[in-house]
Subunit: 284 residues, 4 copies
C-alpha cells in the first residue's frame, strides 16, 4: 500500500449516467494513471459517491487538484481532493484514560498514519509526562463546571493556531458543544464505548451490564451537535458472559475502543470516509 | 456430549460458604457420579448459581429428583431438576417467514435437540404444507385486529392440551400479551431481529439502515410482559457496509436469526439457562 | 440488489494506464449505464482485474456481450460476460450428509440464488426422497472401489446432457479425478471442513481435535487436480474449547460449512469471483 | 474480579467418582470458602481436570498450600497451587519488533497482569531505550550464528539469577533449543504469526499471501522442543482480501499478535491454563 500515491478524490452528487466514464476519462486525458477507483450509488437518495486515486504528473499537484475540483463542479459533484504530499495536522483530546492515547501514538510512531500529531490537549494533567516522553506538545486546558464556554474558546484558539485539520477524541470525557463544533469547522472523531445507538450517554458499560447483553461494543463516529448521534465510521463487539462484572467489561472494552478508533482514524486519514446525512460511506 | 446423562439441576439462592461442597457431597453420598458442575456468584446481589449434572442409580430418577429438590430447600436454594429420560414438548409459533422454522426443524431431525415437537401453530396458513411435509401437526389460529384475546384463549387451550413445556416464537409476528404469558406459565423464547436494546419494536432492519450502523444483530430472549425487554439468552452480529440496502440487511439477518435462535434453544433444552431478574446465566 | 442488471463482465489482463477509462468509456459510448465497477491491481504480477456491471439497451444483450468481448481483446484482456437474463444450470453432488444440501436448496427456494438446479447427483440413495420432495431430479451413480473411472464417465455424460454450468460438491465424499475435472471444463465448488491449508485430506475434525486448536474452520474453494489445494473463495472459523469433543466439532462445523459454502456459491453466481493461479479475486 | 483471592489449584489425574465432592469437601472442612470451581473430563483419556479457587485463613497460606498438595496426592492427582499473594517473575524476550512488547508492558502498567517484569532480554539493542523509559532492566545477549549454545548459556544464567518463573517470547526471532527449554524448566509462551498448524516456520504472512487464504491468524502456545508445535493456548483470525498485500497482512497481523498473546499471558498468570500432552485446558 505504499505506492507513490498522488491524489485522492472523494466525490458525491446527483447520480446520472456516465459519471464513471467521465471522471476516469478526465484523469486519463490529463495524463494520470488511476490506481484505485470505487463507486457507490444510494438508489433511494439518487446520490452517486466515488473515491478515485491516481498518480499525477510530478510538480503540478496543486494545479491538478484545483482543475479536478473545477471539473467535478461541471458534473454538479462536490469533490474533496487530498494529496499524498500533505500530512494532515492532528490534535488528540484526552482526559485520564490512556489506552487509546498510547495505542494511537504507537501506531503513528510505527508509521501506520500519514499525519503529523500537532499536540495533545487535555482537561487534566495526568498524561502530560507520557505525551512529552513521546516528544509531543501537551496543552492543559481545564474545564470547570460553569466554565465550559471559556475553555472551548481557549481550545479553539489553540486548534486554529496549530492549523488543526482533524481532532480525535481519544476517550476525552467532556461533551463538545454544538457551537464549538460549528466554529471549528473541522472533522472530530469520537470513540463511544458502546454499540450505538444502544447505551448512548454516560456509563455505557454499567448500562450494558444492567441490561445483561451478551456482547459489548464500541463505536467511532464523527462528533455532531447531538451527543453520540453523528455518522458512524466503525463499530465492533466482543462477547461477554454472566461471569464478567462491570470491571471486566471496562477492561475488555479498552481493547475494543483501541481497535475501533484506530481503524476509523486510519480510514479517515486515507481519505476513505465520506459522511453524508448521519451516515458514512467507507471506501475500504 | 452423548454421555449417559441422568439428572441436571439448576440451582440458585443466597450465597454462603460450603454450597459447592454440600451439593457435590450430597450427590456423592447418594451414589451419584458428577459429570459436570459449574458455579457462578453474583457478588453484587449475593446470589449463588449452580448447574450440576450427574449419573444416578437407574430406575430411581423420579425419586432422586424429588429428594434432591428437598435437599436444595434445606440450603434455601431453588432447584429445577431435569432428567435426560424426559423429552420436553415444544410448540413453534410461526407466521409467514420460514427460515427459522426450517432451520429448527432440520436441526431437530438431525438429532441436535432432545425434545418433541408437539405442533406448529400459526396465525397464517402459509407454512401448513411445509409443516405437514415434515410430519408435524399444524394449527391455524388467525389473529384479527380487535380479536386478540379470543385468539390467545384458543392458543392457550391448544398449548395446554398438548402439555407444552416450551414455546418458540420462530419469527411469529404478533406480540403476545402479558396476560397470555402469565396464564401460560411456561418459558417462551423469542428471536428479535436486532442487537437489543438497539432497535426494539418494529422494522428493526429499517431502523438500522436509517441509522447507518456498521453491524446488524439478532437477539434471542425470553418473552416477558415488556416488548423486547426479556432476559437475553444469546446475541450475535454481522458486518454490513454502505453497499447493503434494507433487502440485504434482511437477507443477512436471516442467517443471524437462525444461528442465534438455534443456539438459544439448544442451551435451553440442555438445561443451561437460568433466568433471574431481566438477565440470564448461561452455563455453556 | 434486485436492480434491473443486464451485463456483468469479469476482466483481467496485463496492467497498463487507461484501462478504467477505456472500459467505462466504451460502455458509456455504447449507451450503457454503469451500475457498479470495481478494480484491482496485483502489482507483483502486473495484472489488472475488473468487475463491471451495466444496464444495456434491451433486446441486444447477446450482441452487446459479443461486442464487449471483442473490445476487451483489443486491450489484451480476457473477459467473461454474464447476462442477468441467463440463469446458470447447477448440479449438486451429495453423499449422505444433508446439511449443506438442505441449506442450499432452501436458499434457492427463498430466491437467494439466480440459477436453476438441474439435478441432484449422489453416490448414495439416502437423499433421494428429500430431493424429490423439493421437486428436484435425483440421479444415483454409485462409486465402487476400482470402478471410479466408469462412474465418472457416467457423471460426465449426465452433466453434459443437463448443460451443467456449475457443479457444487455439497459434502460429496468422493475425490474427483484430475481427468474428470479437465473433461468437465466447468467450475466445481467444494466445501472442505477445515481452515485450509491446515488439515487437508480426510477426517479434518479429528485432526483438529488431536492438535488441540482453539478455532475450527471451513473453506470453500474451486476443485482442482490437487486435493484441497484449489483457489479459496471463502473461509470462516468458529471458536472451540477443550470441552468440545469430536462430535461437537462435527456439529459446530456443520453450521460453518453451510455458511461458507452458501456465501461462495452466492458470490460465484453473482459473477464476483475471478480465479487466477491458485487464488481468487472476490469483488464483493 | 479483584476479589480477595487466596489460593488457586490446578489439578489433574485419573478420573473416578467423587473427585468434585472430595476436593470441595476438603476445602470446606478446612475452613476455606470456594470462590470458583471448574472441572473437565477428557473421556477418551479418562483424565479429570479441575481449577478451584478459594479463600483460606489468613496467615497460613503456605501451610495450606502444602497440605492441599498432600491431599491431592492421596487422590492420585497432580496439583499446582498458586497464591494470590505471590507475583510471578516474568522475563520478556524481544528482538526488533516492538508491538507486542509495548502492548504487554502497557497492560502490565495498567494493572492487567499480577506479575513482576524482571527484565527485558534481547538479541538486539533496538528496544533498549524503550525498555529503560518504562523503568525496566534491559539485557542484550547477541546470538551469532554458530554461537547459539553460548548465548543460551548466558540467557539461562540470567534467567536463573532473576528467579524467572515465566518467559514470554514477544516476537523473539530466534528458535530456542530443546536443550535450553529442558534446562530452563519453566513455561515459555510464544506468539506465532499464523493460524497453526497452517504456516508453521518462517515468513508465515508470505506463505499465507502465496496461498490466497481469506483469513490470517495468530497462535499463542507453550514452546516445546518441536518448533511451532507446542500446546496451543489461544488463537484468533482476521479477515483479509485480495486487496491486501504482504505488508497489509503484516500490519493487520500485528493487532492479532498483540491480542492473542495478551490473552494467553493473562490466562497463564491467572492460573487458568493446564497443559497436557500437546493440548491445553483453559479454564476461562
Amino acid at each position: 500500500m505504499d505506492s507513490p500515491v498522488a491524489l485522492v478524490a472523494l466525490l458525491h452528487g446527483p447520480d446520472r449516467p456516465g459519471l464513471v466514464a467521465k471522471t476516469s476519462g478526465w484523469i486519463f486525458e490529463n495524463g494520470g494513471n488511476i490506481l484505485h477507483a470505487d463507486q457507490h450509488r444510494d438508489t433511494e437518495l439518487g446520490v452517486f459517491f466515488q473515491r478515485i486515486e491516481w498518480e499525477a504528473r510530478p510538480g503540478a499537484l496543486a494545479a491538478e487538484r484545483a482543475r479536478f475540483q473545477q471539473f467535478a463542479e461541471t458534473l454538479s459533484m462536490h469533490a474533496r481532493v487530498a494529496t499524498s504530499a500533505h500530512r494532515p495536522r492532528v490534535v488528540l483530546f484526552v482526559s485520564k484514560f490512556d489506552h487509546c492515547f498510547h495505542d494511537l501514538i504507537l501506531r503513528w510512531k510505527a508509521g501506520e498514519y500519514a499525519c503529523d500529531i500537532a499536540a495533545i490537549l487535555s482537561n487534566h494533567i495526568d498524561l502530560a509526562a507520557a505525551a512529552r516522553s513521546y516528544g509531543l506538545a501537551f496543552h492543559h486546558i481545564p474545564v470547570a463546571s460553569g466554565n465550559k464556554a471559556a475553555s472551548e474558546a481557549r481550545q479553539l484558539e489553540l486548534l486554529r493556531s496549530l492549523d488543526t485539520e482533524l481532532v480525535i477524541l481519544a476517550r476525552y470525557m467532556q461533551v463538545l458543544s454544538a457551537d464549538f463544533l460549528q466554529k471549528l469547522g473541522r472533522p472530530v472523531i469520537n470513540i463511544h464505548h458502546s454499540f450505538l445507538p444502544a447505551f448512548a450517554g454516560g456509563r455505557p458499560y454499567h448500562q450494558a451490564h444492567a441490561r445483561g447483553v451478551k456482547l459489548i461494543g464500541a463505536t467511532a463516529h464523527y462528533a455532531t451537535a447531538v451527543l453520540d448521534d453523528g455518522p458512524i465510521i466503525q463499530q465492533d463487539v466482543a462477547r461477554v458472559t454472566h461471569r464478567h462484572d462491570v470491571n471486566d467489561l471496562v477492561r475488555k472494552g479498552r481493547d475494543l475502543e483501541k481497535m475501533v478508533l484506530a481503524q476509523a482514524v486510519r480510514w479517515h486519514l486515507e481519505t476513505r470516509v465520506l459522511a453524508y446525512g448521519n451516515k458514512t460511506v467507507v471506501f475500504d
